[in-house]
Amino acid sequence: MPIIDVQNLHKRYGDKVAVEDVSFTVERGEIFGILGPNGAGKTTTVECIEGLRKPDGGTVSVLGLDPRRDTAELRQRLGVQLQESELPERMKVREALDLYASFYRNPANPDELLDILGLTAKRDSAYKKLSGGQKQRLSIALSLIGNPEVAVLDELTTGLDPQARREVWDLIEHVRAGGVTIVLVTHFMEEAERLCDRLALIDSGKVAAIDTPAGLVAGVNDEQRIRFRPSRPIEDSVFAELPEVRSVERRGAQLVITGTGNVLHAVTSVLARRQIIAGELRVDQANLDDAFVALTGRKLD
């Protein structure tokens, strides 16, 4: 049985439709991503899962509970990190964890959590003295302090520098290894590609596709783009007649070849036979951004 089951979720704010029609299921133990551009309805969707908002249509079930009816039970078993939620400026890290630990029947050990999150050295620091990454890690710690079975994390790494972002990603993998099912809301495709077992692409309140990151990319586009500067002049036609090649272009001294399947092998074989060296060689493959464009006709950011 799925741990989260969302069917035909619909939510409006007044006249404005935030979520048109969203359905997906999340299995126990997976990291499930919800990816989409600003305003797609991601936060609204997870807030319905968390029981913070009342859906206007459709059904939501989390751990077999109805988030609006069995709210008290859900609060004990679902950890939440909200997009944009701070703590009182002068509250200290350890105080925040102790306070929140006291709310749960079966809390995690605050010291262990501080250790795992790399915040032990900051335990006596006031919230306002923490860096963005530290605040984010504390926020994750608070979402895990109740030993939840499921954690919903909204915009985990927005506003963090790349280094801090990678640290948070490692942390999430660690948490999942501990058996927590994770729903991750993001608009970074790199984050989704790196962490998620499966993900839902959401656009304008609708699900555009649900699949593994690799499946999404493969499904829409296996085109590759090869760029290099040949060490000696060579005619376009040599490449154009290869069956794998779709197009050949020149950009100054550079050749840009696009194609599918084994195109890289085909191109490098030609070069090898003619003893031409490919300088500044780059190969771009389709990624989730391209998948998103192909599915919705729009860019992710």
Partner: protein, 247 residues
Amino acid sequence: MSALGKMTASETRLFLRDPGAPITVVGIPVALLLVFSLIPGASEPNAEFGGNSVMANLIAPLAVAILLGMLALTIFPAFMATYREKGVLRRLSASPVSPSTLLMAQLIVNLVAALVVVLLVVVIGTAVIGMEAPANPLGLTVSIVLGTAALFAMGLLIAAVAPTGRAAGAIGSAAFFPMLALGGVWVPKEHLPSFFQGVADVLPMGATYNALRETWAGGDPQLLQLGSLVVFTVVCLVLAARLFRWQ
């Protein structure tokens, strides 16, 4: 410890760490008492005030009323509105403990602070400065309780509608200072133009202040004062309960 107990302990720490709140709560009333007591004869019986001293008739009630007003109308609403603005209330909504527990904890902390102010003023006033003790302690207590209720109900209404901590502070001040003037705190109500003398016993600041003056001198609080405090309490609480936004 219960969630409310834990939260109250936590809010107490945060209140004490606030750069303004503790200094305001202790400093202003103590400074008012000490500074005015330096005026020669301020603690002596004075015929102009029906045989009471200036300290007991004007300054001590003023210290209590001003501090109740500041706690209730600016400090408390600013804390709550900041919690809303920063998403603290919302984070609690997603936890097993409701944000109303935080509201309760904040009220408890501020009411205790108010009690500390009253005790400070009475103790320092009588023991250190040598002014006379309140002559109608029961009446004084009733006036303080009803005044506190009315002012905090107003504060709750401000906390209910102010979108940010700054806005709460601004709205609070905009209610506080005019009410001081209209309540006869700057100019005693007997010297106000006759129209304003009626108003002075109606608005919560003035009603509290003037009831404190009466009872300190041994009189009874006026029905108008107590009645309007009750009406303000009820009206503000009903509005606040309707308008309060938790996110």
